[in-house]
C-alpha cells in the first residue's frame, strides 16, 4: 500500500463533512483511526447510552463540538416515562475533564439541570454555542449562569424546551462586555423577559443575525429591537398584537421595511390578522416562514400573506390554511422545499381544513419539494400516487392521518398502494412515516423499494409478523425503526437479530412482543442493549406480562459494554428500566 504521511491523510479527511464518512475512515486501519481521532472536531452521538462519555472524550481529545441525543423519538409524544434518563450531566462532566477546549454543545431530548448549566459555564473558556432542543430539567437560573460566565458566547438557541420560569433576571446577566452574540432564541420561555435589558443587549451585539423572542415581548419592544438590528436574517416575533392604526403599527411597518436582510420569520404568538399586514413589505424576500404557532390567524389571512412569498423554501403552517390556501401556496411558492402542516384542533370533531386535495395541489405546483410533514383526516391512494409522480425528490415523507386505521375514503381500500407509489418513485427517501389503514403489503413495498430509507415510523398498521420482517429484510440502510400498536410479535423480532447491529435503535410499544421474546433476543445478541420500560409502578411481578398496554421495548446498540450506565437509580420503585 502506498505510504501517505499522516498530515496528508489528515488534510484529505478534513474534507469529509459527514460523521458517517469519518467513522468509515476510522475503521480502515490503525493509522487512519489515529488520524481521525486526533483531528475530529465535531462529534455526533446519536444515542447517549450507546457509548460512555469518558470513552468519547478520550478518543477525541481535540473535540470542539459535541452533539448528543437522549430520549427516543416517541418521547415527544409522552410514550416514555418522565424519569427514563438521558442525562446531560455525565457528558458535561466528562467533557469538562477531558476536553476543556469545547466550544459547542448541542443536546436533543435530554435532561439538563441548572447545576449542569453552571458546570458548563465554568468549565470551557472558549465556549461559544449552546443549542438545546426538546430538553427539560432546567430553569431560567441555569440560563443566568450561562449568560454570566460564558464570555464570548455566540449562540444560545433554546428550541421547544420545557424551562421552569424563575424570573426575568437571567437576560440582565449578560455583562455589558458581552458583544459577541450572533444567535439568541428564547421563544420557548413561558415567563416575562426584561424587554429593556434585551434592547440594550441587542444594541451592543453588532453581529446578531438570529433573534427569536418569546410571547412576553410586546411590539413596542420589537420596534426598538429592529431599529437596532436591521441586519437580522432570522426573526421570531414576540407578541404580535397591536391596536389598530396606532403609531406602533406604522413604526412596525417601517421597521420591517428597513430589515432588508430578513429571510426567516417565525413566532407570531397571539397574532391578529390585522398586524400581519405589517409583514407584507418583506414577504418577497422570505425563504423560511413559520406560522405554526398562530392559531388565531384564519385561512384567508394566511393565504394572503403566503401569496406574497415567492421565494419561500420552507413553510410551517396550521391546517387552517385549508386546501384553498395550499392551492395558493402551490401557485406562488415555486421554490418550496419543505412543507409542514400541523393540526390545529386535535381533539375536534374529525374535520380539518386540509385533505388530500391540498397535498396534490402542492405536489403539482412545487416540484422542488423534498420534505413533508402533513396532518390530515383523510388520504386516498390516487392522491398519493399523483404526489409520488409529481415529486420524486422526497427525502422525508411523513403523513399522519389523524384517525388510526382509516382507509381510502373513496375506495375503502387500505393505503398500501399509495405509499407503495411513494417508495417506488422517491429513490432518495431517507425518512418515512406511514398512517391510515395498512396491511403487510405496504411493508413488502417498503422493503423492496426503499433502499435509502434510514428511519421508519409505523403506528396501527400491518396484519402479521411478515410486515416487520419485510422491512428488516429489505431496507439495507435502516437505522431507526419505531413501531407502536402493530401486530408484530416475537417471531418478527427474532427473525434476523444480526440486523440490529446495523441499526441505531428499535422501538416497539403495544405490539405482540413478549418478555420471553426480549430475553431471547438479549441472549442471542449480548452486544445489544435490550431494555424494557415497565410503567406499572415498578412492581416486579407485572414485568412478566409484556402484552399490557404501555409496556415498551427498546433496543440500542453498544459500542462498549458497561453494566452501570443504563440505570439512574438503585431504588427499584424509581428504576423502571430493566436491562435483560
Amino acid at each position: 500500500m502506498t505510504y501517505f504521511p499522516e498530515e496528508v491523510v489528515e488534510h484529505i479527511v478534513d474534507f469529509l463533512g459527514s460523521h458517517g464518512d469519518r467513522n468509515a475512515v476510522s475503521t480502515v486501519c490503525k493509522a487512519w483511526y489515529q488520524v481521525d481521532r486526533l483531528s475530529r472536531r465535531s462529534v455526533f452521538v446519536g444515542n447517549c447510552y450507546a457509548i460512555r462519555p469518558e470513552r468519547v472524550v478520550t478518543r477525541f481529545p481535540e473535540m470542539k463540538s459535541l452533539t448528543v441525543k437522549g430520549k427516543p423519538h416517541f418521547a415527544d409524544f409522552n410514550l416514555v416515562p418522565y424519569d427514563w434518563g438521558g442525562f446531560a450531566q455525565p457528558w458535561i462532566e466528562a467533557a469538562a475533564r477531558g476536553c476543556p477546549g469545547l466550544e459547542e454543545l448541542r443536546l436533543k431530548r435530554m435532561v439538563i439541570t441548572d447545576d449542569d448549566l453552571e458546570l458548563l459555564s465554568c468549565s470551557f473558556p472558549n465556549f461559544k454555542s449552546l443549542v438545546l432542543v426538546s430538553c427539560e430539567g432546567f430553569s431560567t437560573d441555569g440560563l443566568a449562569e450561562i449568560a454570566t460566565y460564558c464570555r464570548g458566547l455566540r449562540e444560545l438557541d433554546l428550541q421547544e424546551n420545557e424551562v421552569e420560569d424563575h424570573g426575568h433576571q437571567w437576560l440582565s446577566c449578560f455583562p455589558d462586555s458581552c458583544t459577541s452574540l450572533v444567535s439568541l432564541n428564547f421563544a420557548c420561555l413561558k415567563g416575562e423577559v426584561n424587554a429593556s435589558a434585551l434592547e440594550r443587549l441587542v444594541a451592543r451585539c453588532p453581529n446578531l443575525r438570529s433573534l427569536k423572542l418569546n410571547h412576553s415581548i410586546p411590539v413596542e419592544s420589537l420596534n426598538k429591537i429592529l431599529a437596532r438590528a436591521p441586519h437580522l436574517v432570522d426573526l421570531g416575533t414576540g407578541s404580535f398584537t397591536i391596536d389598530n392604526r396606532s403609531e406602533t403599527y406604522h413604526r412596525l411597518i417601517n421597521s420591517f421595511f428597513r430589515c432588508k436582510s430578513l429571510r426567516s420569520l417565525s413566532g407570531f404568538w397571539d397574532a391578529s390578522p390585522f398586524c400581519l399586514q405589517a409583514v407584507y413589505p418583506i414577504c418577497a424576500n422570505l425563504t423560511v416562514l413559520n406560522l405554526s404557532y398562530a392559531p388565531a390567524i384564519q385561512s384567508a389571512d394566511l393565504t394572503k400573506l403566503v401569496g406574497f412569498c415567492f421565494k419561500l423554501q420552507k413553510l410551517w403552517v396550521l391546517d387552517c390554511i385549508g386546501d384553498k390556501g395550499l392551492v395558493v401556496v402551490a401557485s406562488t411558492c415555486k421554490e418550496l422545499q419543505e412543507l409542514r402542516v400541523f393540526p390545529s384542533d386535535v381533539y375536534g370533531a374529525g374535520i380539518t381544513a386540509v385533505t388530500e386535495e391540498g397535498l396534490v395541489a402542492i405536489s403539482s405546483g412545487c416540484p422542488k419539494l423534498n420534505s413533508l410533514l402533513y396532518f390530515c383526516y383523510q388520504m386516498t391512494n390516487a392522491a398519493l400516487t399523483t404526489v409520488a409522480k409529481n415529486c420524486p425528490h422526497f427525502t422525508r415523507f411523513r403523513l399522519c392521518i389523524l384517525e388510526p386505521e382509516k382507509p381510502d375514503p373513496v375506495t375503502n381500500q387500505p393505503l398500501d398502494e399509495g405509499f407503495g407509489a411513494i417508495v417506488r418513485s422517491c429513490k432518495n427517501l431517507r425518512r418515512l412515516s406511514v398512517s391510515g389503514l395498512l396491511t403487510d403489503q405496504v411493508f413488502l413495498y417498503i422493503g423492496m423499494y426503499a433502499e435509502r430509507l434510514e428511519m421508519l415510523s409505523i403506528a396501527f398498521a400491518g396484519d402479521s409478523d411478515k410486515g416487520m420482517v419485510y422491512v428488516l429484510n429489505g431496507c439495507k440502510n435502516l437505522r431507526k425503526l419505531e413501531i407502536r400498536d402493530c401486530p408484530f410479535g416475537d417471531a418478527a423480532l427474532l427473525k434476523d437479530v444480526a440486523k440490529y447491529e446495523t441499526m441505531r435503535s428499535l422501538w416497539m410499544s403495544s405490539c405482540d412482543v413478549t418478555l420471553g421474546g426480549c430475553k431471547s433476543l438479549a441472549a442471542k445478541m449480548p452486544r445489544l442493549n435490550v431494555e424494557i420500560i415497565n410503567e406499572n409502578d415498578g412492581t416486579s411481578e407485572s414485568k412478566e406480562n409484556l402484552s399490557d398496554q404501555h409496556k415498551l421495548v427498546l433496543c440500542q446498540q453498544f459500542t462498549s459494554v458497561s453494566n452501570d450506565i443504563m440505570f439512574t437509580s438503585n431504588d427499584p420503585d424509581v428504576c423502571r428500566r430493566v436491562r435483560l
Binding site: 416517541f74 388565531a296 381533539y347 370533531a349 383523510q378 388510526p404 386505521e405 415510523s457 398496554q549
Partner: protein, 171 residues
C-alpha cells in the same frame, strides 16, 4: 337543538389525553365518507383518546391549545347579519351568547321591526337562518355544536319566503 350544547367531546379542555375519555367507538369507524358527510352524520364525538396520538410534540399541543383559548377568550367574534328585504345589516358578537337559543332570541329582537315574527311564529313565517362558513359555503344554523359554529361562522343571512321553504331552522 338543546342537546347540541351538551356535546362534551367538542368542548375545549386543557386535559391530557386519556383523562375523561368518553365512551369510544372503534377507530376505523368512518368509511366511505367525504368531508361533507362527516358534518352531516352524527359527529364522531366520542373519539378514543389514544396515548401519544396524534404524534404532535406535547410542547406544540400545549402551546396551540393555550393560545387558541386565549385568542378566543379575549376577542369578540363580530359577524354581519343580513335579512332579505331589510335595508341595512346588523352586527352581532357571537361571544356574547352561550347557545343557539340566546342567539335566536337576539336576532328576533334585532329584526322584529322587519316582521321576522315572534318565537311562536317560526314555522308559519317560513324563514331560515343561514351562515357562511370558513370554506365559503352557506350552511343552516343549528346543525353543528355551538362552539364549532362560532369558530367557523363568517356572517349570517336570514332567508325568507320561498327560498326558506323546507329549511325551517326549528326542524
Amino acid at each position: 337543538m338543546e342537546d347540541l350544547d351538551n356535546l362534551k367531546a367538542t368542548e375545549l379542555t386543557l386535559g391530557l389525553p386519556g383523562i375523561d375519555a368518553p365512551e369510544k367507538p372503534s377507530p376505523a369507524s368512518a368509511t366511505g365518507s367525504n368531508k361533507r358527510s362527516n358534518e352531516e352524520c352524527c359527529l364522531p364525538a366520542a373519539k378514543k383518546q389514544v396515548v401519544g396520538w396524534p404524534p404532535v410534540r406535547s410542547y406544540r399541543m400545549n402551546s396551540i391549545r393555550v393560545r387558541k383559548m386565549e385568542a378566543e377568550d379575549s376577542t369578540g367574534i363580530y359577524v354581519k347579519v343580513g335579512m332579505d328585504g331589510a335595508p341595512y345589516l346588523r352586527k352581532v358578537d357571537l361571544r356574547v351568547y352561550k347557545d343557539y337559543k340566546e342567539l335566536m332570541e337576539a336576532l328576533n329582537d334585532m329584526f322584529k321591526c322587519f316582521s321576522l315574527g315572534g318565537a311562536e311564529g317560526h314555522e308559519e313565517s317560513g324563514y331560515a337562518i343561514t351562515y357562511e362558513d370558513k370554506d365559503g359555503d352557506w350552511m343552516l344554523v343549528g346543525d353543528v355544536p355551538w362552539e364549532m359554529f362560532i369558530s367557523s361562522c363568517k356572517r349570517m343571512r336570514i332567508m325568507k319566503g320561498s327560498e326558506a321553504r323546507g329549511l325551517s331552522s326549528s326542524t
